[in-house]
Symmetry: C2
């Protein structure tokens, strides 16, 4: 009996994953040259499907890298000559900030405790910061920053570049890419694929910035933005790409487009509402994120009175896997992923079992 | 009717690939947490199998990254404070050298035309070079540097670190890792897997060097060596790894170990000998690499009198795919991969069809 994974990544694989994988294997696509027209068509298909799904304008390229963490580094190399600015309220936003320091940039940051979120009007971006780094969805704490607040932050700071980590939320947030200079995600979260691919959406403005920084500083050697961009114009990558995951991502994005991104977003909200409602009304559980506007729609984090390990074990015996808390919250929290791969019926079944505890 | 790929990467998938992939899917391994004991066991299995296969001592870690190109960058960050030295005789050794310049290191190099190789006694390593970068097998030209020459080069320069690119030859070369500080390969060549994973074998000496460089310079932020090393001690990776390819690599390495690496190397030599013998005796074909000692055992490069595209098309109609020449040799050369995934019988069949042209 297969388990249903409500873990926040790696997560439940999307129901169509197996049939797409079969097509990939039968077509021997694992052996095709990454300099062939067959590959370029495959690459373009995935880019086109993602462009439709996320409403990405032609001013932005869609690039394929090894992971979202690699993209953190490439964004900092490309968009920051000297100073970056980070909104930090959890483990992943902290790491993004640490990467900037590790590249010997000056990393300004505004920090809040885990579980709390940011609003645009409380944020003062330091004068010399070139890039504002925002985490749309903190996988560690279940805090999201509302899309409207991210848009407002850019509108208040039109001369700064803004980078949005949507690793564990895309395709849920409906961004206006005229206001988002760069954003990125990985495929093992809401796209329901095995890990190993990061997707980088990046504007021509970032490219220009990288080219300007390059005159004086290193912008990295591997997957540097100008080289990635030049190859992408030809539907290729500088080095041999992960053809398998690029193919599978295109097919899943096509599936999402068939359903319609609006429907996927609405179902995400319905399932999230059911989960938060259950948590609020059930003894032994409370929502970690107090402010409703900051509650993630894709990763629901729950404080538990009994040790979370006991709950996880019990639920696993019913055929469902939920995540533990992150870091110091490991034993006192649950993290329940709410991605498209888990249906309304499966979410109801989870709620039903949690209710019996 | 499936095609047989004799292309130098992406290449023919190993015959057991499909059954291992099935096990991966059925076990839902694409959803497991990369911080679980189940993952750590899987990770350790792959490292252990590679350690046996390649005879890697405990002084060296075996690390998983996105691609061999990423590893070029990480080696240069970790092992070079100011100056590197490169043996350049083809496209991939050129790129390794260019990466060093892109990181603002001073990249000394000794260059030979494509098709020619290096011997240890003709190499004078510049006094201040900290790292010698050697390409064991130039995928672009089919030139290999004999293992004994690489060992001798290190013995002549015991105070320098040496890095060996064995992207398109591992597990063929039988290195003494007491003489090799770091080496690396990717899985879409001789391991017969889809692309998306690079394997980095790296010694404690390189780690110490990275830690020393870090006091003054950036050694990168993503997958920096000290962080990779620390995680590897616990059979983990800093970011979410490509669990699927790490699993599959472990199973293929186990298959190789069952056959025995000596047998695999012997069969590689037998198949290469048959290919070179055919090329030498057949009108219209000549071996691009004149010096026998420098002829690659894993990528056979052939000059053709008739346009190579015609030959490739003809052979494809017989169910076999061979590679074109690299770069400016695209139309006048063939590249025939000789990896473990293609059997002696399949190689004979290819020779048979080439002979009928």
């Amino acid at each position: 009996m297969p388990l249903t994974y409500f873990t926040p990544g790696p997560a439940q694989l999307y129901p169509t994953f197996e049939s797409h994988l079969k097509t990939f294997v039968e077509g021997q696509l694992g052996s095709i040259s990454h300099r062939s027209q067959q590959y370029r068509d495959l690459h373009k298909f995935t880019v086109d499907q993602l462009r439709i799904l996320l409403n990405v304008p032609d001013s932005h390229a869609i690039l394929f890298l090894g992971s979202a963490s690699e993209i953190w580094e490439r964004i900092l190399f490309s968009c920051v000559e000297l100073e970056s600015f980070h909104l930090v309220n959890g483990s992943f936003s902290t790491k993004f900030c640490d990467y900037s320091s590790a590249l010997n940039k000056y990393a300004h940051h505004l920090e809040k405790p885990m579980g709390e979120g940011f609003a645009a009007n409380e944020i003062q971006v330091p004068e010399y910061a070139e890039l504002i780094c925002v985490t749309h969805n903190e996988t560690s704490s279940g805090v999201q920053m509302p899309v409207a607040e991210i848009h407002k932050l850019k509108q208040k700071n039109p001369d700064k570049l803004i980078a949005v980590d949507m690793v564990s939320s895309a395709p849920y947030p409906d961004f206006d890419y005229n206001l988002i200079d760069t954003a990125f995600f990985s495929v093992q979260k809401a796209f329901g694929l095995p890990a190993g691919l990061g997707v980088w959406i990046v504007s021509e403005k970032c490219l220009k910035k990288a080219e300007s920084i390059k005159k004086q500083y290193s912008i990295g050697a591997h997957n540097d933005l100008p080289t990635l961009w030049k190859n992408a114009l030809n539907n290729e990558t500088p080095a041999t790409p992960n053809v398998m995951l690029i193919y599978l991502l295109g097919k899943i994005a096509e599936d999402f487009n068939r359903i319609g991104v609006k429907t996927i977003r609405k179902e995400t909200e319905q399932k999230a509402e059911a989960l938060y409602k259950f948590v609020e009304k059930t003894g032994g559980f409370t929502s970690f994120v107090k402010e409703k506007a900051n509650r993630s729609q894709t990763v629901v984090v729950v404080n538990t009175e009994t040790p979370s390990a006991d709950i996880i074990k019990n639920i696993k015996s019913k055929g469902m896997v939920i995540g533990s808390g992150y870091g110091k919250f490991k034993d006192s929290q649950l993290r329940i992923a709410n991605f498209p791969a888990t249906s309304i019926e499966q979410t109801d079944a989870l709620i039903h079992e949690l209710g019996k505890l």
